[in-house]
Symmetry: C2
Amino acid sequence: MPPKFKFTKDEIISAALNLVRKNGMSALTARALAEELGCSVKPIFGLFKNMDELQQSVFSAAKNLYQSYLQDSAFNGEYPVYKSAGMAYIRFAKEEKELFKLLFMRDRRNEKIEENREEVRQFTDLIMEKLGISEDEAYMFHLEMWIYVHGIATMIATSYLEWSDTLVSETLTDIFTGLKHRYLQKGKE
Amino acid sequence: MPPKFKFTKDEIISAALNLVRKNGMSALTARALAEELGCSVKPIFGLFKNMDELQQSVFSAAKNLYQSYLQDSAFNGEYPVYKSAGMAYIRFAKEEKELFKLLFMRDRRNEKIEENREEVRQFTDLIMEKLGISEDEAYMFHLEMWIYVHGIATMIATSYLEWSDTLVSETLTDIFTGLKHRYLQKGKE
DNA sequence: AAGATTACGCAACAATCGTTACTTTAAAAA
DNA sequence: TTTTTAAAGTAACGATTGTTGCGTAATCTT
């Protein structure tokens, strides 16, 4: 009886993500999104309770996009498993600067990295096995490595640094090697 | 003939900086600042052309505060000169999270670190002398070191990481040592 | 002490935001 | 074909922002 929906939730989220990836979350206004979709604001509020709910959806969509970067990098086989995660993080920072800021340069007062070791368990396990060090050491190893990856990524996302994939790759290897020597030496003392 | 000014430019900037350091630049509105000062918005626009000009002034004030961190750390003598700069950067990130974001986590499309080598000349000179490597190598050395410092600082500023000064200091030394070995070895090849 | 000058407080303006009555209209059901 | 139902369009509302005109009042000059 009623007219069909002009847009699906996914179409709206996709258009919203498009706005956000170009100019950040602040560019996501009801009217701007309506213009992007070529309609009034009504269809938006028909499918989403309010702009907050839509923002959450866009945030999730951004996470999914990052996950696809991780997957692609891992299955690509260009790098070893552990390294491919770092390369994906940095490539995401380069190609999706606004989304990277949204996901990884936001305030995290309620989710400290030190508190959710579980999330990085896959990485620490890899390192434990590869280097034959304890879990605590592997955790610190990964944290130090990730600080470096995060440093490069944030610099690239803010357009403060422009490094080629090759240079990034070489440097990550150097850093990894340096860390490895330090941690293996630590074990001998 | 006219009544006295109720506030000086510096007083206004100081109050504005107070708002920004607590809740970021978006918290700096004309009315909020007027409330903070206990006056109407008129005195603000009497001394500043518009809010943009005031924002610039607050930005400069934030830079000055960071400079004082650098100075204090350098003259303190707790760390070697080069290290004190990194420690100051990280301490600033910890104690002035919002100002750190404002200064060092903003978009820099027009001022790439690779383009203004001059700004970091003081550091590269230090490293050239200390390690006896070329200017290009010293620049890369500093860049790698600074990526690490920046990584820690941004994590701390976003409350994603909480490290004691001691842990930061020890880790920076380890990283520095690792880098030094790599760069000295590179020279021998 | 009176006058001139101008900073200040009040209140309004336009612009922009999220949100929502009210109306229109498309499309399924009769 | 007509009726019904709800999605979509229009346009308004209230809130918040920067900014400014107007009247008041403070203080220096005379």
